[in-house]
């Protein structure tokens, strides 16, 4: 058997291949570097036309290299370059501020609108909880202590006098009151409740429903303290200044949780996980809106309620806030394609 000599100048496939195609890869790499560094604006029209062409050329190099070359370094390099280009070309999106604008203008209202059934159910559950707690406390005041946690009572229990209760509603501002700290605390507390109502939806929405019932119960129990004393209107005004925004937010969070719970429990034709994923995405949009609403509610509660000490103004502010949310979510004309797609 004759020996095989390697003539000088005879190279392995990858060497010739690198020489022929290398310049294209270098060019693609430079363009990618520029885009990734945030200088996409510096690309000329020519560069922009070239980018997809170079990407396809690199992909074709990769498949040729895989079939004809045993140079592992070359294949790994081409894989990494093609992947980078793929995610850049197929993952492009508009700048952050424009997406934020689109989110506020179309996507958030559309996502909330698409969840109207769950929202109604969520509202009904809260109201049912409130009515039940109201009746319970009216028939037997000791129920109150079973429903409202002790740290939230602060003297506002069924045995309190009218004067104490009025005092609690028109709490005078002391000089050393830390208003902003108070507002911050309320916000974090409410945000956690809302996030849990949403996240617990994955357990087939059972904990979400319980949380909503409990939230309603607290409202009902409080009402049962104030209404018999003739302070119903005052209390409603006191609560509504931030409560309309806050309750709305928690109801929406509950609706988002329910949407996911229903999707997980009854996936229909989809696989269970795929169904949860698609529900989870639109629900996440709603949750972003909920967090925004809670920021506003926290501000209204911490600052507005302490500074505005007149039942009528309080009710007006609360009513205006509620009207704003209703118009924004349900009546604002939806025009974009994106919004329709989401529903």
């Amino acid at each position: 058997m004759s020996g095989i000599d390697i003539a000088p100048g005879l190279h392995v496939n990858s060497h010739r291949f690198r020489e022929a195609r290398g310049p294209d890869w270098d060019r693609l790499e430079t363009l990618l570097d520029r885009v990734e560094a945030g200088r996409a604006g510096s690309l000329s029209d020519e560069d922009l036309f070239e980018l997809p062409v170079l990407y396809r050329a690199t992909l074709s190099s990769l498949s040729v290299a895989r079939e004809t070359s045993l140079d592992a370094d070359l294949v790994a390099y081409l894989e990494s370059l093609s992947t980078r280009a793929y995610f850049l070309l197929y993952g492009v999106h508009s700048p952050l501020w424009r997406r934020a604008l689109a989110f506020l203008a179309d996507e958030l209202p559309a996502a909330v609108r698409g969840m109207w059934r769950e929202t109604l159910v969520s509202l009904a559950i809260t109201v049912a909880g409130a009515v039940a707690a109201y009746m319970l406390v009216r028939s037997d005041p000791s129920w109150f202590f079973g429903i409202v946690p002790s740290n939230m009572i602060g003297g506002r229990d069924p045995s309190a006098s009218v004067a104490t209760l009025t005092e609690a509603l028109h709490h005078k501002l002391a000089a050393d009151d830390h208003l902003s700290a108070f507002a911050a605390e309320l916000f974090v507390n409410n945000a956690s409740v809302a996030l849990f109502a949403f996240a617990l939806g994955f357990a087939f929405a059972v904990p979400t429903v319980l949380l909503l019932i409990y939230n309603g119960c607290m409202l009902g129990a409080m009402l049962a303290v104030f209404i018999p004393k003739g302070l119903g209107w005052e209390f409603a005004a006191w609560l509504s200044i931030h409560g309309t925004t806050e309750m709305f937010a928690i109801i929406l969070a509950g609706a988002a949780g329910m949407r996911i719970g229903i999707a997980t429990a009854f996936p229909g034709r989809q696989a269970r996980l795929a169904s949860a994923v698609s529900a989870g995405r639109s629900a996440a949009f709603v949750m972003l809106g909920v967090v925004g609403m809670l920021v506003i509610a926290g501000l209204l509660e911490g600052l507005g309620r302490q500074l505005v000490d007149n039942s009528l103004s309080r009710a007006l502010i609360g009513g205006a806030a509620l009207l704003f949310w209703l118009v924004y979510y349900y009546l604002k004309p939806a025009n974009s394609r994106k919004a329709r797609k989401l529903e």
Binding site: M1, G3, H11, H15, L70, A72, D73, V188
Partner: protein
């Protein structure tokens, strides 16, 4: 070809499989630690600024600090991850340093709602229970069993969520699972030189077919690695092993011998490859 447990098929619309490698749990943990360090570093700077601004009134400074840590940490945590992952790189600074990026599992574009969903859930699966855990930890000693139970519950919650990536094939966090995303490792590579080139004036090596049949593609690529590394000791070891196996009696410089053998083997295997004959390693039939 080696198969990584974390390697996944990923076919582009052009029909080419790009073979993504998912991020390891350790890499992702390191990325998270870096990101947390950045977030809390920023908060610390804000706190110092606030203290400095309210130097005259002590109460206001304390209150500002309190607000910064309550709201600032909450908003910054959500905003930081979301804003960076929506950017061109699809990665936070921590992920960039560990060469990771977030991509959609279906290969499509990474949408805004997916990023929001995976980061909203990060808050729930990690930060909120952790905050509860630490805030109640201090009150365990003095008070009733209620606090202890809550701390325990928070701990279990964190543990379940934090360990979740260890118990599924794709290293998915709960947030990834529901947002339809996964985290892949995407290192940048520089193209090395071809290793088969021979220096001018190097001695000629002639190998018989039997000598070239000794190895397959796997060994060829390991040899390529050794040649790239140019570490003298491993060159020596490999060269000896090859000489013994193919029964090489001729002399020659170690490096030149290995380069020549690599080139000859590569040419032969690549030619066979074009005829549809592949040989995975030395154990398969020649």
């Amino acid at each position: 070809m080696t198969f990584d447990r974390l390697e996944r098929e990923f076919v582009t619309s052009e029909g080419i499989d790009l073979r993504l490698r998912l991020g390891r749990v350790g890499e992702r943990a390191v990325a998270l630690i870096i990101d947390c360090a950045i977030i809390y570093g920023v908060l610390l700077i804000f706190t110092l600024l606030a203290q400095f601004a309210f130097l005259s009134s002590k109460g206001a400074g304390q209150e500002a600090t309190y607000v910064i840590w309550l709201i600032g940490s909450f908003l910054l945590r959500i905003g930081y991850f979301t804003a960076f992952e929506l950017g061109m790189r699809g990665a936070t600074p921590g992920k960039r340093l560990t060469k990771l990026r977030v991509v959609a599992r279906d290969g499509g574009r990474l949408t805004g709602e997916a990023v929001v969903a995976r980061n909203a859930l990060r808050e729930l699966e990690f930060f909120v229970p952790l905050t509860i855990f630490f805030s109640l930890l201090s009150s365990v000693g003095e008070s009733d069993g209620g606090a202890l139970l809550t701390v325990l519950a928070a701990f279990v919650t964190v543990a379940i969520f934090a360990l979740f990536p260890l118990f599924n094939r794709d290293n998915l966090r709960v947030g990834d699972l529901l947002a339809g995303t996964w985290v892949v490792r995407q290192p940048r590579r520089q193209l090395g030189h071809t290793v088969g080139q021979r220096r001018q004036g190097a001695a000629d090596f002639v190998f018989t077919e039997a000598q070239l049949d000794a190895y397959g593609e796997y060994e060829l690529q390991r040899l390529e690695e050794v040649l790239r590394r140019e570490d003298y000791e491993s060159l020596l070891v490999v060269s000896r092993a090859i000489r013994r196996r193919i029964g090489w009696t001729g002399g020659g410089d170690e490096l030149e011998f290995l380069q020549a053998y690599y080139t000859a083997l590569c040419l032969r295997l690549e030619r066979n490859m074009l005829f549809g004959k592949r040989r995975a390693d030395k154990h398969s039939k020649a």
